[in-house]
């Protein structure tokens, strides 16, 4: 595979027009590798990114991406990567305070996106959230506050021409009533990437299957573009291989 993964099945499935990408995963098939790959691609093509990390500290991502050939520390120093370590993010005890915390967080993201757009070398900006399920935790279960925050981030994608990538754990919402965060995110998304285990169980050479649903919007639409993809993946230290079932020897 190419170093930046530009020519693989995932790139082909994603196309170029998607602005809101939702990555769904579960315990049996974690989808963090998709975030790592998308972050690497965002920074590779002279782009900039804001990474909202609720799941892991910076050092974790730095280590993982370094093995994939991407130096996050360097990008952070050059202010191409803006890392928000939100492990200690507190939504607040009262309802008003949760909303205020999200307003402040959104404010910082908006400033970064605007600064990037107004700068001399305006480039593609990507906002990555790891992950939305933890956002709900810091919001003390207030789905509405999380959705409000995500809506504002979503509005940024159309106003400022940036991309939003959100990871959510599908299996948390499996038994929940239909009004969960997951369903709302699926509605907002242009592209849904779902990591699932193989139905046949664990395997050494295949770590799971990825289904990509490119809903398409009425902004840009290629005639007769394929909308649904499904292929297998294998996560390696330096990247991920994507291949159709049965094509691995």
């Amino acid at each position: 595979m190419e170093e930046y993964g530009g020519g693989d099945l995932l790139s082909e499935a994603m196309g170029s027009a998607a602005r809101v990408v939702v990555v769904e995963d579960c315990v049996e098939a974690p989808g963090a590798f998709v975030l790592h790959l998308l972050l690497k691609r965002a920074l590779a093509s002279c782009g900039a990114a804001a990474f909202l990390a609720l799941a892991q500290p910076f050092s974790h991502y730095d280590r993982v991406l370094r093995k994939m050939g991407c130096n996050l520390s360097l990008h952070r120093r050059n202010e191409r990567l803006h890392f928000f370590e939100l492990l200690g993010f507190r939504g607040g005890a009262r309802e008003g305070t949760i909303a205020d915390s999200f307003v402040r967080l959104y404010n910082e993201i908006q400033r970064l996106v605007e600064a990037n757009r107004a700068g001399e070398n305006a480039s593609q900006f990507t906002v990555v959230i790891d992950d939305a399920s933890l956002l709900e935790v810091v919001a003390l279960g207030s789905v509405n506050d999380v959705l409000n925050f995500l809506h504002y981030c979503f509005a940024l994608t159309s106003e400022m021409n940036c991309t939003l990538v959100v990871l959510i754990h599908e299996d948390i919402y499996a038994d929940e009533e239909k009004m969960g965060l997951l369903l709302h995110l699926r509605y907002i998304a242009d592209l849904v990437i779902k990591a699932a285990p193989l139905s046949t169980g664990l395997a050494a050479d295949v770590h799971g299957q990825l289904s990509v649903v490119n809903k398409g919007t009425f902004r840009e639409q290629k005639a007769k573009a394929q909308k649904v993809w499904n292929f297998h993946f294998k996560v390696k230290e330096n990247g991920t291989d994507f291949f159709y079932p049965g094509t691995r020897h």
């Binding site: 409000n148 509605y187 289904s211 902004r219 005639a223 499904n230």
Partner: protein, 382 residues
């Protein structure tokens, strides 16, 4: 049919009635098509308004789910020029800053500056920042609607979508808003989108009750196993490319008419495809599948036409022989005690005060087939 629906909205309210209301329902499995259907109806309606064919002079779009520019761009692709859009379309933008966060941030950064500098209303777009306040929303909509032309002219309202509104306000308050809009003297028609799988079933039902037309966008193919399994890609692929557009029209007299079309995405546009023999197909689907025959053959139809009904006047010029149903007619003719004279006497003296009653029976029109979709009261103006 999408055209029929747009015509109903275009024709607007009748005297003494509330404005017609269309509820467009979609689900996740075909959400791009549901969104497309809503865009199509808005654009088609705006075209009718621009051409002067509608009761309304303008359309107010209350946009929650999409940037206002998406609507304007879609309408431009449908050959509505800038002049027509400026004249006939106003968008209340509840998408860009629904809760006033941007304004709050700007106020904190530029302390003391007037808030008005941030409500940059471009073209025909007005930013609205208090989506939790339904009363204020109502007055903003009516204010925009009143600005199309001088004098009290009609305008129509589109809400995209009710599901997003329900995150900020309760079902009763939004129902109240829709009812108030429907009964507002200047509102010609109203239509809205709701995503049925984002709510409990009773919520879309509640909004259906407020509507006079319901258009459901349903998946073209139903996966018998589960829509989520990655194995059924062809079903998923199909359902993102085409869907069924099923319309239920409620008439004033309460009768419900069903219409059906296919809709599909072509490039970056949405198209409708009228299925042939629409009403027959729907009627056939309404007849339950049973192991016995519910239809009539030609012979059965003619036999039925020949049946002599009791207490019926044959109307063939002969003396009235009312068949009382106790015996077959030829036997009754031979039985003198039951022949005409006795009955004719009775008819000559209807008020003789005898204990016998009279039955005047007029058979229903033979032209109408049973279970026909035609409503004989359609032409009444009650």
């Amino acid at each position: 049919m999408a055209e029929a629906v747009v015509r109903c909205l275009r024709d607007g309210r009748l005297d003494g009635e509330h404005a017609p209301a269309l509820a467009v329902e979609g689900s996740l499995q075909c959400c791009p098509l549901a969104a497309g259907a809503m865009l199509h109806i808005a654009a088609a309606f705006a075209s009718q308004v621009a051409a002067g064919k509608a009761q309304a002079r303008g359309l107010v779009v209350v946009a929650f789910d999409r940037s206002p520019l998406v609507y304007l761009e879609f309408m431009r692709r449908r050959s509505l020029d800038t002049n027509a859009l400026d004249r006939c379309v106003r968008i209340l933008d509840c998408y860009s800053d629904p809760l006033g966060w941007k304004q709050k941030i700007q106020n904190q950064q530029h302390q003391g500056n007037s808030a008005k500098q941030f409500s940059t209303n471009k073209e025909n777009i007005t930013v609205y920042r208090s989506v939790k306040d339904v009363t204020k929303l109502m007055s903003s909509v009516t204010e925009l609607g009143g600005g199309f032309e001088e004098g009290k002219k009609y305008f129509s309202v589109a809400v995209d979508s009710i599901s997003s509104m329900l995150r900020h306000a309760s079902v009763p308050s939004i129902s109240g808003l829709l009812t108030n809009l429907r009964s507002h003297e200047q509102v010609s028609s109203i239509f809205w989108m709701i995503h049925s799988d984002l709510h409990e079933p009773k919520v879309p039902r509640a909004f259906e009750c407020l509507s006079t037309m319901v258009a459901c966008v349903e998946p073209a193919l139903v996966d018998p196993v589960c829509g989520e399994s990655p194995g059924n890609l062809s079903v998923l692929e199909q359902n993102y490319s085409k869907a069924k557009f099923i319309v239920r029209l409620k008439r004033r007299n309460g009768r419900v008419k069903h219409l059906y079309e296919d809709l599909y995405i072509e490039g970056n546009d949405i198209k409708f495809d009228s299925a042939p023999s629409v009403s027959i197909e729907v009627n056939q689907s309404l007849v339950p599948k049973a192991q016995f025959n519910l239809e009539l053959s030609e012979k059965e139809r003619s036999d039925r036409a020949n049946v002599v009904l009791p207490f019926e006047h044959q109307g063939n010029g002969e003396p009235i022989r009312i068949y009382d149903g106790r015996r077959s007619l030829p036997e009754a003719q031979r039985d003198l005690s039951l022949t005409a004279p006795a009955l004719v006497d009775e008819i000559k003296a209807p008020k003789s005060g005898t204990a016998k009653g009279e039955i005047h029976y007029f058979r229903d029109s033979d032209d109408e087939q049973p279970d026909s979709d035609e409503d004989p009261d359609d032409d009444l103006d009650i």
